[in-house]
Symmetry: C2
Subunit: 273 residues, 2 copies
């Protein structure tokens, strides 16, 4: 058995811990190509082949080292593992680190949106997010995309970053595994769908067609907008508009929940092909 | 037009504002029969006939008074309305009050669980929550219960309070409108279901029966447990176990999302009766 690969650090000001400094404040300004992962489940996912992201470094408290250090040691090219007490971790991060597991990932070059769409005529389910600025909702939608086997998530220019710390956490790590890319505008999403034989479905309470009643296409781009304003009307004018049937007098669902129901129906349709 | 009913208060220590003091700290210890409502949408809901809760008092910033004061004035027996600057509101509450709308509701006597179940042989959809301690999830489940027309929500002894401030907010106010009651234990939930001709459905990934394939009962208690441990096996042994079909290799959904999908299927079934 080889020696533990971990490097013990006692000084919160050690420059190797700089990417972990003032985590919440840095969340707000962004990290230019880096992102923070918290907790064992998400770290294991980022170290697995399911994740396309490179791990720059890992920071563990001594209690977490036995469980995770062994895993990391068996990797062909393991990233540096730093070990610091929870007190030092908390001093660096700026808040208490109860879980004692942090890592820095590298975003890498963003993929081309077109490359994430399965080529026709194969079935395809792509989620399109328009103007979603709430990290919980975006994280929840990635979790649901993974649960119901969406091939990719495409984001318009106004939707927030799925690699934001809280979005990764709410996604249960799915933001690291479900392929995603950004388009220049909501219209660019529609153009891309048209070029790749995807039917654009706009989820909206303001229509008669119920997702549980209509024939769903084998290749679909499911578009979701934010809860208040919804999808822009000029965008919906070029889509098949679909609602989720609700109790009388109620037309309000959380957007991640609406996405889950739409993706569940599309997965059912796909399983019957 | 009558004079404005609002009572202007400039002193954060005014005893009439005591129920609004240190809101976050008081969230943790509970309020013994009182709860806090934030924001205009939720306050309007609490003042409407859809809510069964009495409003003890309302606290508005001066800018919110014209829009809401008029509504309150037309009520037959309006609660006291206090008006304070956002600075005073923030000083009382302990954090900035951007929305400038707060109210104190009275929980009243808890209803009998049995009284919330529609009598047989009418269709009935009741949600049963077991060991759910996350306020976001409980709030989300109330929102979904309202969206998909559940008749009631029954909570076991370990599930958290739907009238907790954050649960009300996440529920979009549905915690004030969907009837709920608490039972002494998970087993008491099952006993109640049996006495009222409800089929107990346990949502769990560990079974073959897919909710989209099976014949659903017209009278159902849908049981949901927390995301990690799920429902207790000895409880599930007395239930019909049902799963939500997911992509291969994935068996994880947020519990509020799982509830939405189950309730959506039950509403569809009920609409076809």
């Amino acid at each position: 058995m080889s020696a533990s690969p971990a490097i013990t650090i006692d000084d919160p000001a050690d420059p190797r811990l700089a990417p972990y400094a003032s985590i919440r404040e840095r969340d707000l300004v962004g990290r230019r190509g880096r992102f923070i992962v918290e907790g064992e489940v998400t770290l294991r996912l980022m170290l697995s082949p399911a994740s396309r992201f490179r791990v720059e470094s890992i920071l563990l408290s001594p209690e977490r080292l036995p469980g995770l250090g062994d895993l990391i040691e068996t990797m062909p090219a393991p990233p540096p593992v730093y070990c610091a007490s929870r007190a030092v971790m908390g001093a660096v991060a700026g808040f208490p680190m109860h879980r004692g597991v942090l890592a820095v990932g590298l975003s890498g070059a963003p993929p081309e949106p077109a490359g994430l769409i399965p080529p026709a005529p194969a079935p395809a389910t792509v989620l399109g997010l328009v103007g979603l600025t709430n990290h919980d909702n975006v994280g929840g939608l990635f979790r649901n995309a993974a649960a119901f086997g969406a091939d990719a998530v495409l984001l318009d220019d106004a939707t927030c970053d799925p690699l934001y710390r809280k979005a990764i956490r709410v996604s249960a790590g799915a933001a690291l595994t479900v392929p995603f890319a950004r388009t220049a505008s909501p219209q660019a999403l529609l153009d891309l769908a048209a070029r790749h034989d995807l039917v654009s479905l706009a989820m909206t309470p303001g229509t008669e067609a119920d997702i549980a009643d209509i024939a769903l296409p084998a290749r679909a781009l499911v578009l979701l907008g934010s809860e208040g304003p919804g999808l822009p009307p000029d965008l919906m004018a070029h889509c098949q508009r679909i609602r989720i049937g609700m109790a009388a007098g109620f037309d309000s669902l959380n957007v991640a929940t609406a996405g889950a129901i739409a993706l569940h129906h599309l997965l059912r349709r796909r399983c019957r092909l």
